[in-house]
Amino acid sequence: MDWSYTPLLFVLPLALMIPIVMLVLTNVLGPKNPSAAKSVPYESGIAPPTSAEQRFPVRFYLVAVSFLLFDVEAVFLFPWAVRFKELGWFGFGVMSIFLAILVLGLVYEWRKGGLEWD
C-alpha cells in the first residue's frame, strides 16, 4: 500500500473545519445591529434602478467560453516550458501544431462572427 497520500486524510477534515468554524464564529461573536439603510445592496447609498436578477445577453457567455478556451492553453504550455530542453525540436514541433490548431479555432470563431458584439 502506498502511504504517501496519508497526509491528505488529515488535511481534508481541517479544510472542512476552517470555513465552518469561521462562519459559525462570526455569527455567534459578531454584534448585530440591523437597520433599513444597512440592508440595501449598496451601502454607499445609491439605490439600484432595477432588480439585480435579470438575464444577461447570451454574448457574455460566448466571450466567456472563448476566453476559457484560449486561456486553458496555458495549462499545456507550462509543462512544455518546464521540460523544454528534454523535449527538444520534437516538443517544439508538437507545440507549434497545438498553437496552429488554436489559431485555426480563432479563425473559425472570427469568420463565424463569434467575435462581433452585434
Binding site: D2, Y5, I101, L104, V107, K112
Partner: protein, 496 residues
C-alpha cells in the same frame, strides 16, 4: 519522478487513421469558416473521403499492426484495434452518406455537422486502440462530446434538444464515473497503464472497486442495462443519421474498449466475480431490451431498444471471454459487430429514404403497405429485420450463431437458453415491421421522399447482409486475403 518515454515523429505513423480523421475534421471546420455557409459545397462526399482514407491507412499498415505501443504505452497498434477501427470507419462512411441526404431533407446542411462526425470518429478509433487510462479517457471524451452536440443538432426540434441535453448530462456524469474508477486504480497501483496496473492491483479491493466503476462508465457508452436509460430517448430524438452513427460506430468502439478492459481486468480476481457481473449485465440487457421493444410503435425507439438487446448478445462474447480467455468468443463479438453495423445502418437508411422534406415517417403503422409501393426498399427493410431477428440466411443469424457457439462450447447453457428465448421474443417486434410493410392496407397516402445516395447505401447494406450471412468466408478464394472469419479470429487473438 516519472521518466519521459522516448517519443518522436515516428510515433505518429501508427496513429495515421486517427490523424486523418482528426486533421480532416479541422480542415472541414476551416472550409466551413472560409465559405461562410454558402450552399452547394459537397460536404458528404468530401467528408466520406476521411473514413475512406483511414481505411486505406489501416490496410496499408495491416502487417505492421503487431501489438507495439507508441507514445510510451499510451496507444497500441494491433490487429484487434485495427479491426475495430475498420468497423468504425465502415460505419462512419455509411453514416456520412446517410447524413448528406438526411440533412438535405431536414434543410439543415452545415459544415459543423460533418466536422463533428469526423472528430467523433477520430475519438472512436483512439478509444479502440488503447489500454491506458489517460488515453482511454481522452478517446472517450473526444468521441462523446461531438456526439452530444450531434444529438441536439436539430435545435428547433424539442425531441432532439432533449436528446442532446439528456445525453450530455448523463454522458458527462458517466465520464466522471469512469474517471473516478480510473483514479482509484491509479491510486492503488501507481500507474495508468491498465494491463500493468491491474496486474499490480490483483487482489486489492480498492483496485477491484475502481475497475468495476471504470467498467460501468464503459457499459454506459455501450448502452447496457442498468445504464441504458438514456438510449431510447436519445436514439429517438437525435437526427436519424446520427442515431445510425451512434448505434453502429459508437457501439463498435465501446465494445472494442470493453473487450480490452475486460481482458486487462481478468487478473484482478480469480475471474469469477467479473464473469458473474458481466453475466447478469448481459442477461438483464437482452431481456430488458427485448421486453421494452415489444410494445414500441416508433421505429427509432424500437431500434433503440433492439440495440440494447443486441448489446446483450454482444456481451455474451465478453462473458465467455472473461472466464475462459477463449479468443473465439471475441471473434464472435467482432463478427457480430460487423453484421450489426451493416444491418442497422441499412434499417436506418430505409427510414431516411422514406422521409420527405416535410417530415419523417417514424410510426410503424405508417409503413402499412409500403412493401408493395416501394418493393426494393420494402425488400431491403425486410432483409434487415430478418437479419436483426437472427433468421438465416443473413448476417444476423451467422453472427448470433458465432457468439452462441463459443458460449455453448464452454458450457454457458443457462445463458444461451436465455439468449435463445430472447431472440425468439425479438422476432415478434421485428416481424411487426414486416407485417406493416406487407400485410396491412395503407391508411392514407403517405408522401414518400427518395434519395439515390441513400438507396445505394441501403443496397450495399442489403447485399452485405446476405453475403456475410451466406458466405462468411467470402473472399477466401482471393490469395492473401483472409476470410471474414479468419480476419476476426486473427484480430481476437491479438486482443490485449
Amino acid at each position: 519522478m516519472l521518466a519521459i518515454p522516448e517519443i518522436g515523429w515516428s510515433d505518429l505513423t501508427p496513429l495515421l487513421p486517427f490523424l486523418i480523421l482528426c486533421v480532416g475534421g479541422l480542415v472541414l471546420v476551416l472550409i466551413d469558416a472560409l465559405i461562410r455557409g454558402r450552399a452547394g459545397f459537397p460536404w458528404a462526399p468530401v467528408t466520406a473521403l476521411l473514413p475512406a482514407a483511414a481505411l486505406v491507412a489501416y490496410a496499408a499498415r495491416w502487417g505492421d499492426a503487431v501489438g507495439e505501443t507508441v507514445f510510451g504505452t499510451m496507444f497500441i497498434e494491433d490487429s484487434f484495434g485495427s479491426t475495430v477501427g475498420v468497423l468504425i470507419c465502415i460505419a462512419t462512411l455509411l453514416a456520412v452518406f446517410l447524413s448528406g441526404s438526411y440533412l438535405d431533407k431536414v434543410g439543415r446542411t452545415r459544415g459543423e455537422y460533418y466536422a463533428l462526425i469526423a472528430f467523433s470518429a477520430s475519438g472512436l478509433v483512439l478509444f479502440a486502440s488503447t489500454t491506458e487510462l489517460l488515453s482511454l479517457f481522452l478517446g472517450l471524451e473526444l468521441l462523446s462530446i461531438p456526439v452530444y452536440v450531434l444529438s441536439g443538432y436539430l435545435r428547433k426540434n424539442p425531441l432532439s434538444l432533449e436528446a442532446g441535453m439528456k445525453y450530455f448530462l448523463l454522458g458527462a456524469f458517466s465520464s466522471a464515473v469512469f474517471l473516478f474508477g480510473g483514479a482509484l486504480i491509479y491510486v492503488t497501483t501507481g500507474t495508468t497503464d491498465l494491463v500493468e496496473g491491474l496486474r499490480l492491483g490483483a487482489g486489492s479491493p480498492l483496485a477491484q472497486l475502481g475497475f468495476l466503476i471504470l467498467l460501468s462508465g464503459l457499459l454506459f457508452k455501450a448502452a447496457t442495462v442498468p445504464f441504458h436509460m438514456w438510449t431510447p430517448d436519445v436514439y429517438q430524438g437525435a437526427p436519424t443519421a446520427v442515431t445510425a452513427f451512434m448505434a453502429t460506430a459508437v457501439k463498435a468502439a465501446a465494445f472494442g474498449a470493453l473487450a480490452r478492459v475486460v481482458a486487462a481486468g481478468s487478473p484482478l480476481w480469480d475471474n469469477i466475480p467479473l464473469t458473474q457481473v458481466l453475466w447478469w449485465v448481459a442477461v438483464l440487457t437482452m431481456t430488458v431490451g427485448n421486453l421494452a421493444a415489444l410494445t414500441q410503435t416508433n421505429v427509432k425507439r424500437m431500434l433503440a431498444y433492439s440495440s440494447i438487446a443486441h448489446a446483450g448478445y454482444l456481451l455474451i462474447g465478453l462473458v465467455v471471454f472473461s472466464q475462459t480467455g477463449d479468443h473465439d468468443a471475441l471473434s464472435g463479438m467482432l463478427y457480430y459487430l460487423l453484421a450489426y453495423t451493416v444491418m442497422n445502418i441499412g434499417a436506418f437508411g430505409v427510414v431516411i429514404y422514406w422521409a420527405n422534406h416535410e417530415r419523417e415517417h417514424l410510426e410503424i403503422p405508417q409503413y402499412a403497405g409500403l412493401g408493395w409501393r416501394t418493393p426494393a426498399l420494402g425488400l431491403a427493410m425486410s432483409v434487415f429485420m430478418i437479419s436483426l431477428a437472427g433468421i438465416p440466411p443473413t448476417a444476423g443469424f451467422f453472427g448470433k450463431y458465432y457468439i452462441f457457439r463459443s458460449a455453448i462450447e464452454h458450457g454457458f447453457h443457462s445463458l444461451i437458453i436465455i439468449a435463445v428465448l430472447n431472440s425468439a421474443l425479438s422476432v415478434y417486434y421485428y416481424l411487426r415491421v414486416m407485417v406493416a410493410l406487407y400485410m396491412r392496407k395503407p391508411v392514407a397516402t403517405l408522401e414518400l421522399g427518395r434519395s439515390t445516395v441513400v438507396g445505394a447505401v441501403v443496397a450495399v447494406c442489403a447485399v452485405a447482409t446476405f453475403w456475410i450471412g451466406f458466405a462468411p468466408d467470402a473472399f477466401s478464394f482471393v490469395p492473401g486475403v483472409p476470410s471474414i472469419v479468419e480476419w476476426v479470429q486473427g484480430a481476437a487473438i491479438a486482443a490485449r
